[in-house]
């Protein structure tokens, strides 16, 4: 066959593919879905900024042919906040991992959600720290095996969608890398929505997490997603459990709330109006 050109080639940074991710890893699917959504919406790629933190998925910002920034560990949301406030025309997306966003970066997540800064956060949840070789993290299931839980995990994991909802996110969804169509639709919703939006994507990490937990291949992990998936749109995220038998998926929250950016510019214009007619010096 002649030179094959993938339809999404234009959305990928030249010379960066193949990416660094393992075979069976779902990060590439998340990247695929993300550009898929942008393509569906025919968005102005110039106005899209992709920010990522540290970890396997952190490399994603390098693969999208957008303005991208690869920040320090856990700080992607804080950086993105600066970008978005400095130029509200930009669509600022943070795509990072569960450890990056919810362990070292947890504080930034809840505060950005609380402020309702208009940034879009996609979390690739692979249940462990992949890049460093598979240590347990804030989403590692109880009793799961990782290099730092050689006797099984004794920490309770976060329910990310519940955390996001409780922190004030206006759009909250959870899918897996197998539910790509729904994921793309949710990303599209998120990209068009104003306010702090969050999508958790459960993604297979067979090399690092799976093989230690009786799922040595991506296919095995994807089939687990298939078997366990229980789609409950608009249900209570507090009840959105993740167990070996059941993974509750869906769009849980979709509400309207004035964004920080909006209130900020309102405040600024109010102040400036007051300034007309001149206030005293400093």
């Amino acid at each position: 066959m002649s030179e094959e050109v993938h339809p999404f080639e234009g959305y990928l940074r030249g010379g960066m593919i193949p990416h660094i991710w393992c075979d069976g890893c779902g990060n590439g699917i998340i990247l695929n879905c993300f550009v898929h959504a942008i393509d569906d919406l025919k968005m102005d790629i110039d106005k899209i900024v992709v920010v990522s933190g540290i970890g396997c998925i952190g490399r994603l910002s390098g693969y999208t042919n957008t303005d991208s920034y690869h920040t320090t560990h856990g700080r992607a949301i804080a950086f993105a906040t600066g970008v978005k406030l400095a130029n509200s025309d930009l669509t600022v997306t943070v795509i990072s991992g569960d450890g990056d966003l919810f362990a070292i970066g947890g504080n930034h997540f809840i505060h950005a959600a609380r402020r309702n800064v208009d940034i879009k956060v996609i979390c690739a949840n692979n249940f462990n720290y992949g890049m460093t070789g598979g240590q347990y993290g804030p989403t590692t299931p109880l009793n799961a095996w990782t290099t730092t839980t050689p006797y099984g995990n004794i920490e309770h994991p976060f329910n990310l969608v519940h955390l996001a909802a409780a922190s004030g996110a206006v759009f909250v969804a959870r899918w897996t890398t197998l539910h790509v169509r729904r994921l793309v639709e949710s990303i599209k919703k998120m990209l068009q929505k104003e306010g702090f939006s969050f999508i958790e994507v459960i993604t297979p990490c067979p090399e690092i997490y799976g093989r230690r937990n009786k799922m040595a291949t991506g296919i095995e992990m994807m089939n687990w997603f298939k078997k366990a998936a229980d789609i409950q749109n608009n249900s209570d995220p507090a009840k959105a459990e993740i167990t070996s038998e059941k993974i509750v998926l869906g769009e849980f929250i979709d509400i309207e709330k004035p964004t920080y950016d909006h209130l900020l510019s309102e405040m600024i214009s109010k102040v400036q109006k007051k300034m007309e007619g001149g206030g005293g010096q400093g």
């Binding site: 957008t66 303005d67 920034y69 949301i77 970008v83 504080n107 400093g282």
Partner: protein, 385 residues
């Protein structure tokens, strides 16, 4: 009625150092401030919170100093001159992202109103204990620029200077104030807008497809594109080549990048460094000082002259990069040097290094008040014999 321009409050003011610094920032074109309350720098944030909206700028109080520094970098990449202000503990938290700013060559300003440390130390007491941290605080090899104001007026002037330098060299610039200059009230003269020199970062002169975000010009500084302009560029804290692509294995690229990041400062020291020379022409003893200490040093030198001692003062304004050349020069012509610092010996090491054989008398000061002129005078008398 047309809106009064509130960007530069031209005129004479009696104001606090922190406030002056804020005014300097706004005059310099800073339109983004992200910070976290901390004594004795809080007043900078308070002033910014009040003033930025007036000039269409953005003030945001973040959840900590880590995120403050991150947001400042983000805003800068979005094309807005940005800063934060803090003190010791917060400055420590910022170090990692200061390193990121260095690595991604991000113009931004950090005002560090120094207080007594280590740890929580003495929040309301002055100190000069972060001088070395300013240079070496973040991990890895890098150069940085730090300025030390010694008056409220300089809190204004040097903050502007800091922004200009950061824009020219794409590097974070630190204003090393201290609790005294920060909280002291003095008269400040704010010149007319026109009289204030403002510099902005170089923009790319090539179309997006030709743009390499980290490809330097002759001055070793790469032009900086802004998010949203269609350049689709990528910046990473990883070692990267001129196109911004990660180069995590290539020794070649590591060498190339780190050398340039340092050389763009080292090769421009003459353009960057500022010092103040007082009665040095015939001096055979000299005080080398910076920040608030230099005010006591100056009166000590004057008194010494009255006593017939040929004393002079080299006041360091640009703490980093360190003005080796000037110190070495003074060292050659003098018998001894006196270095008063509000710490237990930091910048004095740099002085000793530069002074070679010339003896250096160090005057430490911890807690309580800053040096009294007489303490420095005594030192001059002693080294003069």
């Amino acid at each position: 009625m047309a809106q009064k321009d509130r960007t530069v409050l031209t005129g004479k003011h009696f104001m606090e150092g922190d406030v002056a610094s804020a005014e300097g920032a706004i005059a310099a074109g800073c339109r983004f401030f992200a910070g976290y309350p901390i004594t004795p720098a809080t007043e900078v944030a308070e002033r910014m919170a009040q003033r930025l909206p007036e000039v269409g700028g953005i003030y945001i109080q973040m959840e900590d100093e880590i995120s403050s520094m991150a947001a400042v970098i983000g805003a800068s990449y979005a094309g807005v001159k940005s800063m934060t202000a803090t003190s010791g503990p917060g400055f420590s938290l910022m170090q990692e992202n200061i390193g990121l700013a260095v690595m991604t060559e991000t113009p931004c300003v950090i005002v560090n109103v120094m207080r007594g440390g280590p740890s929580t130390g003495q929040p309301t007491k002055p100190a000069q204990q972060d001088v070395m941290q300013a240079k070496w605080g973040s991990h890895g090899d890098y150069e940085i620029i730090a300025l030390a104001p010694n008056s409220v007026q300089e809190m204004f002037d040097l903050t502007i200077e800091a922004f200009n330098l950061s824009e020219i060299y794409r590097i974070p610039v630190i204003v090393l104030g201290d609790e005294i200059v920060g909280h002291m009230y003095e008269r400040v003269t704010i010149p007319s807008k026109e009289a204030i020199k403002i510099v902005s970062r170089k923009e790319p002169q090539v179309p997006p497809e030709k743009y390499a975000p980290f490809k330097p010009d002759k001055d070793l500084v790469p032009p900086m594109a802004t998010f949203g302009q269609g350049y689709h560029f990528y910046a990473t804290g990883l070692t990267h080549d001129e196109t911004g692509r990660p180069q995590t294995d290539s020794a070649e690229e590591q060498k190339k990048l780190i050398q340039r990041l340092c050389d763009k400062i080292r090769k421009n020291v003459d353009r960057i460094i500022k010092v103040e020379k007082v009665m040095l022409e015939d001096a055979n003893v000299a005080v080398i000082s910076y920040g608030i200490t230099s005010r006591a040093a100056l009166s000590a030198v004057r008194k010494a002259r009255q006593e017939g001692i040929k004393a002079g003062l080299l006041r360091i304004v640009t703490v980093w990069p360190f003005p080796d050349k000037y110190v070495a020069g003074i060292a050659k012509q003098t018998r001894a040097l006196v270095v008063p610092e509000m710490n237990y010996g930091q910048l004095v090491r740099e002085v000793e290094r530069a002074a070679k054989e010339t003896p250096v008398k160090f005057l430490p000061k911890l807690g309580e008040e800053p040096h009294k002129p007489v303490e420095i005078l005594d030192a001059l008398r002693r080294v003069h014999k």
